[in-house]
């Protein structure tokens, strides 16, 4: 169960990761967050974001055209 769910559906990439970075200072160390998006490059962007910032992707789930990525901050 995620500590926080953020839905970026309807937002074109790379807005989701830019918004995620802007929201990042509110997150706590070790918190589990779930980000949802429907942009075709959403998964790729989130993966790149996690890799650059050293965050762990716990799960990727596709539900129709939506992708849900679970991350440990």
């Amino acid at each position: 169960m995620a500590d926080r769910v953020i839905d970026y559906s309807g937002l074109k990439c790379p807005y989701p990761i830019l918004k995620l970075s802007a929201q990042y200072p509110q997150f706590k160390e070790g918190e589990i967050i779930e980000v949802i998006g429907d942009c075709p490059t959403f998964e790729k962007d989130i993966k790149a974001w996690c890799s650059k910032l050293g965050k762990t992707i716990l799960n990727i789930e596709k539900q129709g055209n939506k992708i849900k990525v679970t991350i440990r901050i």
Partner: protein, 633 residues
């Protein structure tokens, strides 16, 4: 259906499977629409892989594929930019939170992102450099602060730093010792005004305020009175200065109570010396007058036959003798009284015997306690003087206890060391015999204590005391180079401690005045008028005839004239003009048998010269003269 413009009958009828007309145009258009829609959603992964001969259609397909590629590049650029921004944003955030392990990536396909990464890292390095310099400076400041603290703590003087609102910000350990309060209790909690005597506060607060307007408006150094935890007041010397760039001031506080006490002792001693000289002089003059009065009264007494008149003359003689007695006491105070026969006295034994006599004079209500050491104490003193000292102190003690009490007579031997001498400069270091007379009587206040040794000062009712008892004691003790300490508390009693030097080499030898007398003529040569007068006067007192010369020239003139009359010449060694030795040489030329004594301020050892130190102890000079005249030397 509309006729197709194809020369082969249009794509619907074409049998050539490779001919674009073999496919339906609408399908191609649908495909193109789908691809464009995908691109618009950001999906550039699909391409149209068909070739058509119709130029316009192929151009559309090529354009769509080209668009897909362009959009793909744009998207990739966008993503690269966004990820770069996110990464750098995160690094900046971590740095801002103080995590200096954060490092920006300097790898990016986008030049500006790459440069931004480099810039962040360089900025971080510079920042770290600043921090390290600040830390270094901070460390230096801390060391400096510690050094200053060590200096302030080890300077040996109490120091406080005070704020504008008078709170003490810093106090060193000496201030703790001086006040009895701890740093914890003082710093930041107490105001300096709590440590000073109220009588000083108004002035000191005024100085405090004025100093903050302009340091030159208040004195930098002044004396004050410090109050410690137990309310004890100490005399202190304050040194106050403003600390630059602040409203704080720093004050050093030196305890000058001891210094003040010593100053008072010295002033008191000087006062007693002056009084001694004055009373001695007065007594001397008085004695001279009395000699005439008593002498002529005696003559008158022998000449008068009339009993009434004879009685009057007897009354004059009685009054004159009382006056002579008074003058004698004054002479004792001024230490001009001759010392009688000095004897080695066993003080323990003396006090034991004396205490029996004391019991009869102190009455039943006063209990006598004798504290004597087991070891017997011997002291060389005129027994009469010892008796006068003890009697005066004991009768005073008795009078201080009309309701009864305790009288303690103590004796002990002590050594005064250099340290004690520094705080009591009037007492020389060495061994002392201490006589102590203490009572539990009325005691006295400081003002009275300061004056008790003054001649004619008395607290006793009129007619009960002469005011000469303690001044006589003072004179006698001083005559033996001794010292008196008085401790007194109102309502509790008084203690007199008489310190007599145990090995006093300066005690004058016991010489009978008769053996020093002579009737010869002496020539006294000294350029100092006072010395010359002094020597002449005591020579005359002892029966000699005296001629005086104020320099060598005058001396030689007198000697030439009265060569055979002058039995001895007393010549000062150092004189302006002809020196003492030269005068001696010329006198010897006139008369080789002439007897000459050279006087000097310091001991001298000259061949064929008989000399005497100008100690101004008349006995020594008289003895020397007598011995030479009698050819004992």
């Amino acid at each position: 259906m509309e006729q197709h413009p194809c020369p082969y009958g249009g794509f619907l009828a074409c049998k050539n499977t490779f001919c674009e007309y073999g496919q339906r145009l609408s399908e191609i258009l649908h495909l193109c629409s789908d691809i464009i829609e995908s691109i618009s959603k950001g999906d550039t992964s699909k391409k149209i892989d068909i070739k058509v001969q119709r130029y316009a259609v192929q151009r559309l397909i090529d354009s769509i594929n080209k668009l897909a590629k362009e959009v793909d590049d744009l998207i990739n650029l966008n993503h690269e930019l966004a990820v770069g921004i996110c990464e750098h944003f995160d690094v900046l955030r971590r740095l801002q939170e103080g995590d200096f392990s954060a490092e920006a990536s300097e790898e990016s396909k986008i030049e500006i992102v790459k440069m931004l990464g480099q810039l962040i890292n360089k900025q971080k390095e510079r920042f770290l450099d600043y921090i390290s310099k600040i830390k270094e400076q901070q460390e230096q400041i801390f060391h400096f602060y510690e050094q200053q603290n060590a200096i302030l703590s080890s300077v040996g003087v109490a120091i406080i730093v005070v704020e504008a609102d008078m709170t003490i910000e810093f106090a060193n350990s000496e201030f703790e010792d001086l006040t009895g309060y701890s740093k914890k209790e003082i710093e930041g909690k107490m105001k300096w005004t709590e440590f000073f005597s109220e009588e000083m506060l108004d002035k000191m607060i005024e100085y405090h305020n004025l100093r903050r307007i302009s340091p030159s408006l208040a004195p930098r150094q002044y004396e004050s009175k410090l109050k410690d935890r137990n309310g004890r007041i100490r005399e202190v010397l304050m040194n106050v200065a403003m600390i630059p760039y602040t409203k704080k001031s720093v004050a050093s506080i030196i305890d000058i109570s001891e210094r003040k006490k010593i100053q008072e002792q010295l002033i008191h001693s000087q006062k007693m010396e002056s009084l001694g000289m004055l009373s001695g002089r007065v007594a001397h003059e008085f004695n001279n007058i009395l000699t005439g009065i008593l002498g002529f009264a005696g003559l008158l007494h022998t000449k008068i036959e009339e009993p009434i008149l004879k009685n009057f003359v007897e009354k004059i003689i009685d009054a004159g003798e009382k006056a002579r007695d008074l003058a004698k006491k004054l002479l004792v105070f001024s230490r001009k009284e001759e010392i009688g026969v000095i004897q080695e006295i066993n003080i323990n034994k003396y006090l034991k015997n004396f205490s029996e006599f004391v019991k009869t004079i102190i009455g039943k209500d006063v209990e006598l306690k004798l504290h004597l050491p087991e070891e017997e104490v011997f002291y060389r003193i005129d027994p009469l003087h010892l008796e006068v000292i003890l009697m005066n102190l004991i009768t005073n003690a008795r009078d201080a206890m009309p309701e009864g009490g305790e009288l303690i007579i103590g004796l002990k031997e002590i050594s005064i060391d250099l340290e004690y001498h520094y705080t009591h400069p009037l007492v020389a270091p060495g061994d002392y015999v201490v006589l102590c007379i203490a009572d539990t009587g009325a005691g006295m206040d400081e003002e009275t204590k300061q004056r008790i040794f003054e001649p004619f000062f008395t607290t006793k009712p009129k007619g009960k005391g002469t005011g000469l008892g303690l001044s006589t004691v003072f004179g006698l003790v001083k005559q033996y180079n001794g010292h008196i300490h008085v401790y007194s508390e109102v309502g509790k009693g008084t203690t007199f401690k008489i310190y007599m030097p145990a090995k006093d080499k300066k005690i004058k030898p016991s010489i009978s005045p008769e053996t020093l007398k002579g009737a010869e003529t002496i020539l006294v040569v000294d350029d100092d008028e006072q010395t010359r007068d002094f020597i002449s006067s005591f020579l005359k007192d002892y029966g000699y005839n005296v001629y005086e010369a104020k320099n060598g020239k005058e001396a030689l003139e007198i000697f030439k004239k009265l060569n055979h009359e002058i039995a001895l010449s007393l010549i000062d060694l150092v004189m302006p003009g002809i020196s003492g030795i030269e005068v001696m040489r010329q006198i010897k030329t006139i008369n080789p048998e002439a007897k000459i004594v050279i006087m000097s301020g310091h001991p001298i050892d000259l061949k064929d010269v008989i000399s005497v130190e100008k100690t101004f102890a008349p006995e020594e000079i008289l003895l020397k003269i007598r011995n030479i005249l009698d050819e004992k030397e």
